[in-house]
Each structure stands twice: as C-alpha cells, then as structure tokens.
Amino acid sequence: MKDMDDQIPRTLPIQSATFTNPINAEIRRAAATGIYDIRGGGAKRKVPHFDDLLFLGASVSRYPLEGYRERCDTSVTLGTRFAKKPIELDIPITIAGMSFGALSGPAKEALGRGASAAGTSTTTGDGGMTPEERGHSSKLVYQYLPSRYGMNPNDLRKADAIEIVVGQGAKPGGGGMLLGQKISDRVAEMRTLPKGIDQRSACRHPDWTGPDDLEIKILELREITDWQVPIYVKVGATRPYYDTALAVKAGADVVVMDGMQGGTAATQDVFIEHVGLPTLSCIRPAVQALQDLGVHREVQLVISGGIRTGADVAKALALGADAVAIGTAALVALGDNDPKWEAEYQKLGTTTGAYDDWHEGQDPAGITTQDPDLAARLNPVEAGRRLRNYLKVMTLEAQTIARACGHNHLHNLEPEDLCALTMEAAAMARVPLAGTSWYPGKEGF
C-alpha cells in the first residue's frame, strides 16, 4: 500500500503570496509583544525610483562635453529669494537633518567634517545644536522642529540657514521618536526631559497650524535673525504640488521635499512603509508648483529620500531640483551596516545591510548610539574623510552624466535628457517611456 502512495504525484508546498514568511513572523512578533515594530531607516519596499530612469546622452542632435577638458560646474546657491546671506555650496548634495541623540557625538562630528571638506552643508535635528557640530560644520542648517528641543535664539543666530520641519518622508504626519535607551544624561539635558523615558516628539508645531500661520512664523524667525539667513520649509512628500505652493506662499526661500525612502532614526514600520510618496513621484509636481508661481530657481527645491549615487543626483536635478540631501547614504559612508561588524549584527539577530534597529542604541558601528564605548568605535576624522570621498565621487558621477548630455553645469540637465524604463516611472517623472515619445497622462495622444 505504501509503495502505491509513493507513486502518486504530490502537490508541492506553496507559500502564500499574501501571508509570506516575513508577514507571518511579524504577526507572531506582534502577538507576543503587544507593540508595533519600531525601526530606523526609510521604506524598504520596492517603489518606482531613479533606477527606472535612463539618460539619453549626446547624439547627432546634441553634442557632449569633453570629460577631462571642459568644465561642468556643480555649485548651487540656496536662499536667493529673501535672505541677505544665501548659502553658497560647491556641490548640490547636502547632508539631511539628523539629531544628536539619534546619532552619536562622533558621528555628528564626522558629518560636519565630511560635508565641510566637500563644500556643502550639514543639518541639525531634533534636539538642538551642539557646539561640536557647529564647530565642525562650515555651513550648518538649524532645524526648527515641533518639539523645539534645545531651541534658543542664540543658536538660531549661529545658523547659516533655518529649516522649518513640517514633516519628513519616512513619516509624514508623525513626530520624532527617541526611545529610553538613547536618552543619556546629555541628551536628556538638551531636551529638558527625564533620563531614560521614551521620548515622542509632537507631530505638529505647538504655535502655528496651517499655511497662514506659517507665513507669520516665518516673519517672526526672519525678524529674530535680521533677515540674514535663508529659511527652508521641509515637508514629507504627500501632496507635493500644494505643499510646495503653500510653502512658497508662506515665504519660504527653499522647499525641501523628502520622499518615503528617506530615513528616520525611529518610527513605526507601518508608518515608514505605508505613508507618503516615493521620491520619484514628488519632484515634477513640486517643480510644476514653482513654475506655476513663477519662482522656479528663485525658490530652490531640495529633494531627498533614497539618493545613493551621482546618477540619482543627476536625475533629481534633471527633473528640476536644485539640490539633493542625503541621510542614510551618508551614514553608510561613515560606516553604518559595514560587513566588518557582521558577527555583531548576527548577535543582534540581523545581518549586514538589514540592520535598522537604530532606536535601540546598540549600533556596532558606533553611529546610531549614545553608548560611549560603541560611539568610540567611530573615528570622526576617518569617517569624515570617507564621507568627503563619497560626496566627491557622487559629484564626479553626476558631472560625467551631465557632460555626456552636453551640459556645462549640473543645473542645465533637463527632463528631455531622460527616458523611463517602466510605465510607472514614465508617469511619475513625466518623461517618455524608453524608445517612445509618450508618457502616461501626456496630452495629445
């Protein structure tokens, strides 16, 4: 009888595409703990991105520039609309806001060193400005956040620009989160909070709501800083056309648009993966808003969220951005998720490239931690040099592409230099599907 059973073809085990192993593991984790999953980083799900675009390069109708002979400029000035002292950067790649608290002191120092050496700016985060990061950053953008931790007029006046944070791509509509493990004595003091508590920042500003109030808030900040420095408005990408238009109406010098791949120090995984727009989809609507208001290039647009390479930089600029900001990529350049820490990642139940428990403060690389022993693992001078190198490489890559397209400045890249590999990317970036002159939504077809 058994012999007969062995001869019957068997149905292979089929894994559900809906109830996947990771989903089931999360269900079991939730059932065991009673709390949602919190992690750092940005969206890990696959979404249409810059990889879905290609540059066309020069051809008979366009001629290229010589790679090692003809100049291709990279400078950008941010804040030309109202500020007496706009920020002049050598490269259009800036460092996004990341707090002391979320990051260790040496990591913040390394960001300042690397950015300064590359001729660009770095940015504070939730928790205020430390003397170390001011000292090591030749150009420092001071974030004005709902929590107002550490906010004071003296630091405000030391800043080279002020960034009013309305939201961020990882969690549009959500506030900051720093769990008790990372609330050290110094972090607690800077934030006027008890040590060791789970700190949840407010999701909206305490003293203004809506664009009309924002206009008055910007007026106040300009009055306090004598109209010297640019004022950015940063939003998480959700309604990019209207948010950009309203930021312009409120008086912003610069709009920072952060897509869902943009990282966070800590928030709910469900928030990171299910709220907000992919970076690729928010650039053209934001640029459209600036163009409709007649302020494209007068109010600068900074794009962030998943920028990794010079190609990403070039594509963001070709779609109309004036600059980009990097966060996660900068941390990787410093040493985050480095394979040399694999044994320690394994002990934490993860692996190189997947480590995202930045909120727990046990980062083997010494970056997302307040543990003095772990933080001491990061040499800020060497890490700063790595960041500088990486920024230089990205810039060289972007220049390579721009020259191939015949442009003597990165800002001369344009949508006409691009095509899309997928229908989705064509629709979002409003550039033709490769080999065609059509994209979804284009009139006349």
Binding site: P153, I197, D207, D213
Partner: protein, 227 residues
C-alpha cells in the same frame, strides 16, 4: 523714554533697534505706539530694557525674549512670549492660543484670560494667568510652573512631563497622565513667590497642584487606550 511709532516706521526698524540695544545701554525704556495688532513685535530681544506696547498685538509678541521686560497695554494674539528664555512679559489684557509655548525661562504674566494650549510644551518658563485658561493647556509641558488663578478648561496637562500646574478654580477635566498631587510646603513657597511677582492677590493655600502620574513615560501596551 524712547518712543517708536510702529505704523510710521515699520516692524523691521523696531526689532532692529530693540535688538541692537546692548546690556549696558542707557536707552532702557521704550514705548511702542500704534501697534495695531501687528505680528512679531519686540521679538528676539536680548538686553535688560523695558518695552511698553501701547495697544494690542498680533502673533508672537515678545517671541524668544531674553532679559527684556515687555509690557503690553492691551491683548495679545497667538504665541505671546513663545520660546522665551528669560526676562518678563506682562499682558494687561487677554492672550490668544499657545501663550508661552515652549518657553525655557522667564516669567509670563497674563492679567486677563488665556485661550487654549497655554503653556504648551513649556520647558522651564513660569506662567501666571490671573484669569482662566482654555483647553489642552500645558500639553506635553516639560518643565516650569503654570499658575492659574481662575479656572482651567478641558484636558489640562495632557501628556505632561515634569512641569508643575497650580489651579485655584475648577478644572474641567484632566488630560492623559495628569493627576492632582499633594501640595507640599516647597510648592506653597514657589507659588507664593510667583503670585507676588505677578501681582496676583490670591492666597497660595487656595490652589491645587497637578502634575504627571509618569505612567506614560515608557510605552506599555496596557496604556494604549490612554494615548
């Protein structure tokens, strides 16, 4: 006494003039006439000067004040003395929303009533309101003292950290994690000092003290319905 006509000379000139006063300035007494509800009057000051605003103001009057004493002979719009660091701000009339929001230090006195979210996210400022305060006052208040000689509205002290709240009259409701606490001698002492400095004639013994139950400081799934 220096007089500045805001209507005639503009906001930029006013703030630039007041901000340029040094700690050793001889021009210690200023009067601002014709404020007419303008926003951002006397913001970012950092000198021990006295500024009297002869009328009502708009948003963010005395924002981020340091050292200066700013008196408003009228009512103030939203965010008066927001993020104040030190000094004093005295409002003869009423205050709109977010009075003293995120303030780090100094004393804010409101002789009339204050609207909703008075003392929101306060971080060390002392606020004395002679009248009533609106709903959600002292939301996420971290440090400092909020004294209310009248009544408090709904959800007082919601998600409170370590700020102390003193209310003489009724409290319509307490917010999440805010509880009535024992009034000990050291609290009566703090209260008496604040009432004296604010020119309020109430007796400290008439007040009740409220503070954080500290049950929401670290996440507990059993408290999820509280948030």
């Amino acid at each position: 006494m220096q007089t500045y006509d805001l209507e005639a000379n503009g906001l930029r000139g006013l703030n630039a003039t007041l901000q340029s006063q040094s700690t050793e300035t001889n021009q210690t007494s200023w009067e601002v006439v014709n404020p007419k509800g303008s926003h951002a009057i006397a913001v970012g000051l950092d000198a021990p000067i006295e500024v009297t605003v002869k009328g009502s103001t708009g948003y963010y009057c005395a924002g981020m004040n340091q050292q200066a004493t700013i008196k408003v002979e009228g009512s103030v719009g939203p965010g008066v003395a927001e993020n104040m660091m030190s000094g004093q701000v005295i409002v003869d009339g009423d205050a709109s929303q977010y009075a003293g929001a995120t303030g780090k230090g100094g004393l804010l006195v409101i002789k009339g009533n204050a609207s909703s979210r008075c003392g929101i996210s306060m971080k060390g400022i002392d606020i004395v309101v002679h009248g009533d305060i609106g709903h959600m006052s002292a939301f996420m208040a971290q440090a400092g003292n909020l004294v209310v000689c009248g009544d408090a509205g709904d959800a007082l002290g919601d998600s409170l950290y370590e700020a102390r709240l003193f209310v003489r009259g009724s409290v319509k409701s307490l917010g999440a994690d805010c509880v009535e606490k024992e009034m000990r001698p050291e609290h009566l002492e703090i209260l008496k000092d604040l009432l004296d400095r604010a020119g309020a004639d109430s007796s400290p013994e008439e007040f009740k003290r409220y503070g954080s139950a500290r049950q929401l400081y670290n996440f507990d799934v059993d408290n999820a319905a509280t948030y």
